[in-house]
Structures are given as structure tokens and as C-alpha cells.
């Protein structure tokens, strides 16, 4: 256990990509933290390393060096299986391209990780229905992703992530593929989740949505530029 009091913290995090002899440092010593219940947005220009940072923090990727702490526990030393369990039990993910299984209905997409968490099938279904209801999709339970709009698919993705309340909800450009109206709906859901105490780490390049979060962390060229409170806080 570390002495950290944060829900998520990175220390001197570095990530370097190697292609043949070409070495590309993307993260150059990132110190970052998110408090319990905080909603943080990571912003920066394209190629700044914001998504790479999110992938390291959410244990989808292996940093080149540095430390990651989740709720005070060392996460950078975990085995792949332990990371998988942490992603299953403690994290929720919302990806830019929805990342739903095309052959599963909305309900089944949400049920699947709950089954992996040892829920009974009936209990998983009930919980999934409840989560989908929370994002306004009670009427679309039996629809395949191909029969849903982009905004609806993203809402299914959110329902899957929050069906059993995660410690941290990671969202990678959740509105990038959506029109303005759908984006507003998605951000409204995030705001609601946050008001219930959900910790959210969100990558976005849209100032409007970054401004809705509690704190914006701006990075550029693999380094944190600033971590200012968001200027436009809309309850």
C-alpha cells in the first residue's frame, strides 16, 4: 500500500514506443492524480498523449516506467491476470467507437461482464435492465447494436460500464463520433453519474465538454501542462 490518498495516481509515468530503431517517447514523466468522486478531463491537441495516458492508467497498456496506484494499491506491478480482474471489478470503460459486441443485444452486452463477475443469469439481467433504464434505453433492450444509433450505442456502452458501480469510469473521447444532440445526452449522463459520486476520468478534445468536469488536466508533448479547475461548471 502507498501513502497516497487518491483514487488514482501516477508517478513519473513514461511510455515510449519503438518501431525498429525509431524510438518515440509519448509520455515523459506524468504525475497525475484523481480524487475519489472527482470528474477529471484530460485535454490536449492531437498526438499530445492523452489517450495513451488513459490506457496506461486504466491498465490496458504497460507503461515503460513509472508507478500507478489505484485506491492506494500498486497497480504497475500486477500480473496480466490481476490487471484483468481489476479492469473487470473496479473499472468501467467507455470507448470512442462504443465497443459493443455486434452479435449481442443491448441487454446481452451489459449482461456479459456481469456474468464474468459471477452474477447469476437472472440477477445479471435485472441489473443490466436497471443500468439500461438509467441511460434511457429500457425500450431497446433486445436491439442489436446495428439497430441502434451512435448515441444509443454509446449509452449501452455506458450502461455496461456502470452496471455494477465501478471505482473509476474511464471514457476515451466518448462524444467524438456523436452529433451535438447525442453528445449532450451522453454528457448529461456523465454529469448525473458524477453527482452520485462516481469517479470519472475522461479524455476529450472538446472544450465545451471539458468545461463540464471538475478539473481539466492539459497535456502536451507527453507532459502535464496544467491541472486547473474547469472554468465552466454546470451542475
Amino acid at each position: 500500500m502507498s501513502e497516497t490518498n487518491y483514487m488514482l495516481e501516477t508517478r513519473d509515468l513514461e511510455k515510449t514506443f519503438k518501431t525498429g530503431t525509431v524510438v518515440t517517447p509519448v509520455l515523459k514523466g506524468i504525475d497525475f492524480h484523481v480524487a475519489n468522486g472527482e470528474w477529471v478531463s484530460i485535454m490536449g491537441r492531437s498526438g499530445a498523449g492523452k489517450s495513451t495516458l488513459l490506457y496506461q492508467m486504466s491498465l490496458l497498456d504497460e507503461p515503460t516506467s513509472g508507478e500507478i496506484y489505484i485506491d492506494g494499491r500498486e497497480a504497475h506491478t500486477l500480473t496480466e491476470r490481476e490487471k484483468m480482474r481489476m479492469r473487470l471489478y473496479e473499472f468501467g470503460f467507455v470507448f470512442q467507437e462504443y465497443a459493443l459486441m455486434p452479435e449481442l443485444t443491448a441487454l446481452e452486452n451489459v449482461v456479459l461482464p456481469l456474468l464474468m463477475k459471477r452474477f447469476s443469469y437472472d440477477a445479471a439481467r435485472e441489473r443490466a435492465k436497471s443500468a439500461l433504464g438509467r441511460v434511457g434505453l429500457s425500450a431497446r433492450l433486445g436491439n442489436l447494436p446495428s439497430a441502434l444509433s451512435g448515441g444509443e450505442q454509446q449509452r449501452v456502452s455506458i450502461a455496461r460500464a456502470i452496471a455494477e458501480r465501478p471505482e473509476i469510469l474511464f471514457a476515451d473521447e466518448p462524444t467524438a463520433n456523436l452529433d451535438h444532440e447525442s453528445s449532450d445526452v451522453i454528457m448529461g449522463i456523465f454529469r448525473e453519474l458524477h453527482s452520485d459520486g462516481q469517479t470519472i476520468v475522461m479524455v476529450t478534445h472538446e472544450e465545451e465538454y471539458g468545461a463540464m468536469t471538475e478539473r481539466i488536466v492539459r497535456i502536451d508533448d507527453g507532459r502535464v501542462l496544467s491541472g486547473e479547475p474547469a472554468s465552466d461548471k454546470r451542475p
Binding site: Y55, L60, D61, M84, R85, R87, L88, Y89, F91, F93, F95, A99, M101, P102, E103, L104, E108, V111, L112, P113, L115, M116, R118, L144, R160, A161
Partner: protein, 420 residues
């Protein structure tokens, strides 16, 4: 390690992937598995069936279910008539044919041969003295007369001759001194020699059948005349072929005859024991060849499944990455592909079993495939078929697992982002 939880989640995924996959793709894969299964079972079954066809011919045309024959130390079955009467009185017996049998030489060109140095056109044959009516009831011999006519009980100096003894039918080639008879037709005269006694006879009919039929190398004459040629005045025969009524076991009947004392004066055998030497070896050889061909089929099926699952897994690599990303175990994903492979194999096998036992085996049994050496049937005993089903299932599960494993092992984020 795969846990029950992995199996549960894998099953959940597999069910839905199968249910919502393209019906054409599924149909094509199942069709390939069906053909593979039939290849596994039918090729071996037919090769063995060729030999079994020969056995079947011997059973139907010569030995019956049980045959009582002359022991090696004797020239005939002693007390034959009493034995025949005893056998006829048994309730298991449907019909019998008692035969006089002897080796003989048949010569064709003795009339046209003018030069003493000219080679005789003669061949060896088995001569059977039969009751034409009883023999026809027993072996349906009259139906095989392709040229000429069948024997009447009152015929004298007339014979039926098997097609393999005649040049234009035989494919056996020349054996020095014993060549198939040339220019022989119904009505032709030939000379037959049994034990030094020679008689000129007329060919009344030619038995046209497959080369390995016991009828193909036989010569049939009314029993009275053969008795005379053999000098057999005591009515002791050489063979008593017995056909049992439906449902009676040949082995049990053989034992009954043996224990009743018939075994002391004659050799009592079931049809399978009476098959000529070598047939069982040929059967075993054909079975091995069939297994070798089937093994190739199994490898092809495995590769087919491997390719199907590999392409499926590669095109779904991103989704596999996402599943791993949200915490679904790699084992559960692998199991889902193994279930899918097993599903394709089992559906193919189920359809294959229906085709095999519902159509192919009964149809080919009723209408054997006529080949030059035998009337082939499909031999597909259930235990052997089940073994092949198990092999196919195992091969497809492994073939489904390996490509899934290859993709699942790739870096999760690389899979999600489509990076190599």
C-alpha cells in the same frame, strides 16, 4: 486454467455468436463437416464393404449361414443322408442345399485341335453336383444365368459354367496350362474330367456374376451325373449348406450341430469361418487403407475449421481486444471459439449420421454398388462410427482453440486499436 466461470461465459458468447452468424456461412461450414464425416466413415466403410460384399456373396450363394463340409481326412461326409434328414428336422432351418463337389478340368478346343502339339484350351474348375430346384431355392442360381438356360433336374450331359472360366468374361489373365475357355457359348461342347473320368457335356447356360462370386468359377451339373462321374454310389455328399430362419444365430446353430455329433464326421462352420483364406486379410488391409484416407480427411477438416476460426478471430480481433479490455478472461473467449467449432462439427456429424444410417447404409445394402470384384456395401458399425465422431470432435475443438488462442494472446490494446 479454464474454470467453470470461463466455460459459462464462453458458452454464453458462443451461443449468441452462432445464433446470429450468417446462415450461409454456417451452412457452408456444416456442409464441409458433413462431407468430412462421410469421408471418414463411408470411405473406410466402402473399402471394407467391398470385402464384406465378397463375404456376403459366399454366404448367399454358397455357404449359407452354416455349412457342413467334408473333413480334410475324408473324401465325403459320412452318413450324409441321415445328417441331412436330421438337419431338415431342426426348427431353425429354413432351407438347405446338399452338394457333391470335386475339382475338375474342362477342355474346350479338343474338337478343333488338329495338331497334337497344339496347347489344350483347358481350365481348372470346381464342379458341383446339385439338385437344380433345391440349389435355385437356396442360392437363386437361375437368376445369374446370363446366357442360355438354367438346369432341369432331368438334364443329362448338360452343365452351367461360371463366367470367370470363359475367356470373354474373365479378367484373370492367362495361367500357363489353365487358360479361360475360348469360343464357348451355350450349346458348345466341352470335355470335363473328374478323377480321371472324362465326359463330353454341353454348356446349357453361363453364370454371369462378379469375379469374386463363388459361382464365377463353378461348374454346376445335376447331382445324379456327378455321382456317376465321381463313382459315389453311397449318396454321401461333400457340402450341406444351411440357411437359417430369420433371427437364429449361426454360431449357436454351429455349436448345436457340432455337439449333436455332426462335428465328429464333418467340419461345421459359420459363414464367416468358411470364407476362403485371405479374405479376412484383404478386409484388414482395406480397412487400414480406409483409415489412412480418412486420416487425411480428418486433417483437411481440422485445417478447414482452423482457417474458418482463424479468419473469424482475425476479423474480430478488435472485439476480442474489447472483451479482454472490459475484463472478460482470455480463456472464456477461447472456449467460445471451441464451442463454435464443436457446434459446426456436431451439426455436420448429426446430419451425417442421419444421411449414413437413414439413407446410405440401408440403400446401398439393398442396392449394392456393382464393382468388378464384388457387390460393395457400406460397412459402418456404430462403435467404429462413434470413435470417428469423437476423433472429429476432438480435432475440430483443437482446430478451433489454436487460432483463438493465437489472437487472444495478442496485446489487448493493440487488438482494440487494430495495431500490429
Amino acid at each position: 486454467m479454464m474454470s467453470p466461470l470461463d466455460i459459462r461465459v464462453g458458452w454464453y458468447l458462443a451461443q449468441r455468436q452462432i445464433r446470429r452468424s450468417s446462415i450461409w456461412t454456417t451452412g457452408l461450414i456444416v456442409f464441409v463437416m458433413l462431407l468430412t464425416f462421410l469421408n471418414l466413415v463411408v470411405v473406410t466403410g466402402m473399402l471394407v464393404g467391398i470385402v464384406d460384399g465378397i463375404s456376403k456373396l459366399y454366404r448367399e450363394q454358397q455357404t449359407g449361414d452354416v455349412i457342413v463340409s467334408t473333413p480334410k481326412t475324408q473324401n465325403y461326409i459320412e452318413n450324409s443322408q441321415n445328417i441331412i434328414a436330421f438337419i431338415r428336422g431342426l426348427p431353425q432351418v429354413d432351407r438347405i442345399s446338399a452338394r457333391y463337389a470335386s475339382g475338375a478340368t474342362i477342355e474346350a478346343n479338343y474338337k478343333t485341335r488338329t495338331d497334337q502339339n497344339e496347347k489344350a484350351n483347358s481350365t481348372g474348375a470346381n464342379v458341383f453336383g446339385v439338385d437344380p430346384v433345391a440349389e435355385n431355392e437356396f442360392s437363386n442360381l437361375a437368376s445369374f444365368v446370363g446366357e442360355g438356360q438354367y438346369l432341369e433336374p432331368s438334364d443329362y450331359d448338360e452343365i452351367l459354367i461360371g463366367s470367370q472360366l470363359i475367356d470373354r468374361y474373365s479378367f484373370g489373365g492367362d495361367v500357363p496350362g489353365l487358360t479361360p475357355l475360348r469360343d464357348v457359348y451355350p450349346g458348345s461342347k466341352v470335355r470335363i474330367t473328374i478323377g480321371g473320368v472324362t465326359r463330353e457335356v454341353t454348356i446349357k447356360g453361363i453364370i454371369v456374376t462378379t469375379a469374386n462370386s463363388p459361382l464365377a468359377t463353378g461348374v454346376y451339373m445335376p447331382e445324379k451325373e456327378v455321382r456317376e462321374l465321381m463313382g459315389r454310389n453311397d449318396y454321401n455328399v461333400n457340402q450341406i449348406a444351411i440357411r437359417l430362419k430369420e433371427g437364429y444365430d449361426p454360431i449357436a446353430f454351429r455349436d448345436l450341430l457340432t455337439n449333436s455329433g455332426v462335428g465328429r464326421v464333418a467340419t461345421v462352420q459359420t459363414f464367416s469361418e468358411a470364407i476362403p483364406n485371405g479374405v479376412e486379410e484383404v478386409r484388414s488391409t482395406f480397412a487400414q487403407i480406409g483409415n489412412a484416407i480418412s486420416s487425411v480427411g480428418l486433417v483437411v477438416a481440422s485445417i478447414t475449421i482452423f482457417i474458418v476460426i482463424f479468419i473469424n478471430a482475425v476479423t474480430r480481433r478488435k472485439f476480442i481486444g474489447i472483451l479482454k479490455g472490459i475484463g472478460i478472461s482470455g480463456e472464456a473467449i477461447e472456449i467460445s471459439y471451441m464451442f463454435q467449432s464443436l457446434f459446426y462439427a456436431m451439426i455436420g456429424v448429426t446430419v451425417g449420421l442421419l444421411v449414413l444410417y437413414g439413407f446410405l447404409v440401408p440403400y446401398v445394402s439393398a442396392h449394392p454398388i456393382v464393382l468388378p470384384i464384388s457387390n460393395a456395401i457400406i460397412v459402418a458399425p456404430l462403435p467404429g462410427t462413434m470413435l470417428r465422431v469423437a476423433l472429429l470432435a476432438l480435432a475440430t475443438v483443437i482446430a478451433g482453440y489454436i487460432p483463438a488462442r493465437m489472437i487472444v494472446r495478442k496485446n489487448t490494446l493493440d487488438s482494440i486499436l487494430g495495431r500490429n
